[in-house]
């Protein structure tokens, strides 16, 4: 067999180089979230009317939504990357080399994850460090992990989209449409009083993240009687692990379906 690790790393390195040179992608994945943070900060952080829970401003509560948006963009970038590799023949070129599709998928997950880390560092640094969003430091690593798990699921969603589209432009359009629709439907940008939010991974990521890093309940309490905030801003009966399980289920399903469908559609 081939040396999977080294080849996978080289694929990841190649993907990152390609990504960094794509200015359009860099704008939507790095610059746009920072712009959104600025807009939220200016719109929601001043005045008594903007205080939502426990003295937190709307900006503090909406900050996790920006994290969800930023990480969810992986569905768009991975959809474009895989659709491009189908169209420009690079996937076929790689298929003729002693490399398995496992290397290709793993390389994509690694490059996207590394890039997500860069995004998170920028968003956290700007949001917490400069704009002063409220957070609980002790819970931050766990919140970071939740964001990463969601990001890997987003790569799976990108793979599903790329499987059905034969142009990177089409993949970009559909992935952007699905990501933005889910962002609004989930109430991640603005709270939405609708049961539909429960069917979106974005909602669960935002709420778990919010509980861990912003509201700052004790983790042991959250494990037994969590208070995930419902769309109506009331506390739910769900303990936090149910939300984590739902996020894991979404991620596993998207990755499983993404790999299966992409393989089926591109194996000639």
């Amino acid at each position: 067999m081939y040396s999977i690790d080294v080849k996978t790393w080289h694929i990841a390195k190649k993907n990152i180089k390609e990504k960094l040179k794509n200015l359009g992608s860099m704008f939507w994945t790095v610059v746009f979230p920072i712009m959104m943070l600025l807009v939220y900060k200016l719109a929601f952080s001043e005045g008594d009317d903007n205080t939502m829970i426990n003295g937190l401003t709307a900006f503090d509560v909406e900050f996790p939504g920006i994290v969800v948006y930023t990480i969810g963009m992986s569905s768009v970038t991975s959809a474009v990357m895989f659709a491009m590799s189908k169209v420009d023949g690079t996937l076929e070129r790689i298929d003729s080399m002693p490399v398995s599709r496992g290397n290709v998928f793993l390389g994509a997950v690694i490059s996207e994850t590394l890039f997500m880390n860069l995004q998170l560092i920028l968003v956290f640094g700007f949001g917490y460090g400069i704009l002063g969003a409220h957070f609980e430091l002790a819970m931050l690593p766990f919140g970071y992990l939740i964001a990463m798990i969601f990001g890997i699921g987003a790569i799976g969603l990108g793979l599903i989209i790329a499987s059905f589209l034969n142009s990177p432009e089409g993949a970009n359009g559909i992935a952007m449409l699905s990501h933005m629709t889910l962002m609004f439907v989930s109430g991640s940008f603005f709270p939405l009083d609708n049961a539909g939010v429960f069917f979106t991974p974005q909602y669960w990521v935002k709420q778990v993240y919010l509980q861990l890093t912003v509201v700052g309940d004790f983790f042991t309490d959250l494990m037994y009687s969590g208070s995930i905030i419902l769309p109506t801003s009331e506390a739910s009966i769900f303990p936090i692990w149910s939300g984590i399980l739902i996020i894991l289920a979404f991620t596993s399903t998207f990755i499983f379906l993404g790999v299966k469908i992409f393989q089926k559609k591109t194996t000639l």
Binding site: M1, K14, N22, D88, E92, R93, M97
Partner: protein, 336 residues
């Protein structure tokens, strides 16, 4: 066209295995048996059989849509055959793809490069995928890029000209020292100077003992480079051999090209030529031109023909070319 010769060719090559066995007996690196590929019920490759010797340059010649690229894509493991199989260095194409991949290099028909990367990054990526030692890879990359006149470029491949991308494509296909190199239309879109550079490079590679399989619809290219040529049309191999063997098989004889200043002169000459015995075929071309294939000695024929026809613009004798052979076998030109 001469239908009987076309049919004869197809019957002759319907069982090429027997033909090759009688002709060459040893040292085959590729053996293709009844390979077939269908897309939505349409056969792109229709049960071809081939044997290619180690170290030779083998050309698959045919018009667009003949099935050359599909054949190459199957032999390079990216396309699964609908039927049949091939053995590449004794490994089964169906069952042992993983053992075949390290042995081959592929230069696809399209310029398949990672556009955001530099030439060096592109080549090194391929080397890494083949598990090359990083120091050797660096040296080999620089050497090959220098040979192809694209070394030291810091810009990304998307800003390269078509010719530069083509040459980069070629370098990417052989950085890992493949034993078998598949070149799918390697000089398509290149200017004459770059084409000559690539030809010289291919000849150099051949001298190292590398087996090269080339597809082309350029007969000059096939003629200049090949040890053996297989002519493909409609998914089938309709002729196989060295250029000399193909010429001999086609039984075209010698060719005379006549140019006339007017249509009237051409018709007058054609009527007279039809009375000459050793003329096999007269073809009327555009621009008031006649192509005449004939048997027998050139000198005698020239005397005889000049006795009959006095008024013409130019005449030119030449040997039967690959294009004539192809025209005869398929009834159409390579670019049709």
């Amino acid at each position: 066209m001469d239908v009987s010769i076309k049919e004869e060719a197809q019957i002759k090559y319907s069982d090429p295995n027997q033909f090759y066995d009688n002709k060459h007996s040893t040292n085959f690196i590729i053996e293709v048996q009844d390979l077939e590929k269908s897309f939505n019920g349409i056969k792109a490759v229709d049960g071809i059989s081939l044997k290619i010797r180690k170290g030779e340059l083998f050309s698959l010649l045919g018009p667009n849509g003949a099935g050359k690229s599909t054949t190459i894509r199957m032999l390079t493991t990216v396309l699964k055959p609908s039927n049949g199989n091939a053995r590449i260095k004794d490994y089964s194409l169906i069952k042992e793809k993983d053992k075949i991949k390290p042995l081959i290099g592929v230069c696809p028909q399209e310029n398949v490069v990672f556009k955001a990367l530099t030439a060096e990054d592109n080549v090194e990526f391929v080397g890494h995928m083949h598990g090359m030692d990083p120091v050797d890879l660096k040296k080999r990359t620089n050497n090959l890029l220098e040979k192809m006149n694209i070394a030291g470029l810091k810009k990304s491949a998307k800003s390269f000209s078509g010719g530069m991308k083509r040459r980069l494509n070629l370098v990417m296909s052989l950085v890992h020292h493949p034993q078998i190199l598949f070149l799918d239309e390697p000089t398509a879109g290149l200017d004459p100077q770059a084409r000559r550079l690539v030809w010289d490079f291919i000849k150099e590679l051949k001298n190292t003992g590398m087996t090269i399989i080339l597809t082309t619809h350029d007969m000059v290219e096939a003629d200049a480079l090949s040890d053996h040529i297989a002519i493909m049309d409609h998914g089938k191999i309709i002729a196989f051999g060295t250029l000399e063997e193909l010429k001999k098989d086609s039984k075209n004889g010698n060719i005379l090209e006549f140019s006339f200043s007017s249509k009237k002169e051409l018709i007058h000459a054609k009527n007279k030529l039809e009375r000459i015995n050793n003329i096999k075929k007269i073809t009327t071309m555009e621009n008031n031109k006649l192509i005449i294939s004939f048997t027998g000695g050139v000198k005698t024929f020239k005397q005889e023909i000049l006795h009959e026809i006095e008024s013409f613009e130019s005449l030119h004798f030449r040997e039967d070319s690959l294009e004539d052979i192809f025209l005869k076998l398929t009834g159409r030109g390579l670019r049709n």
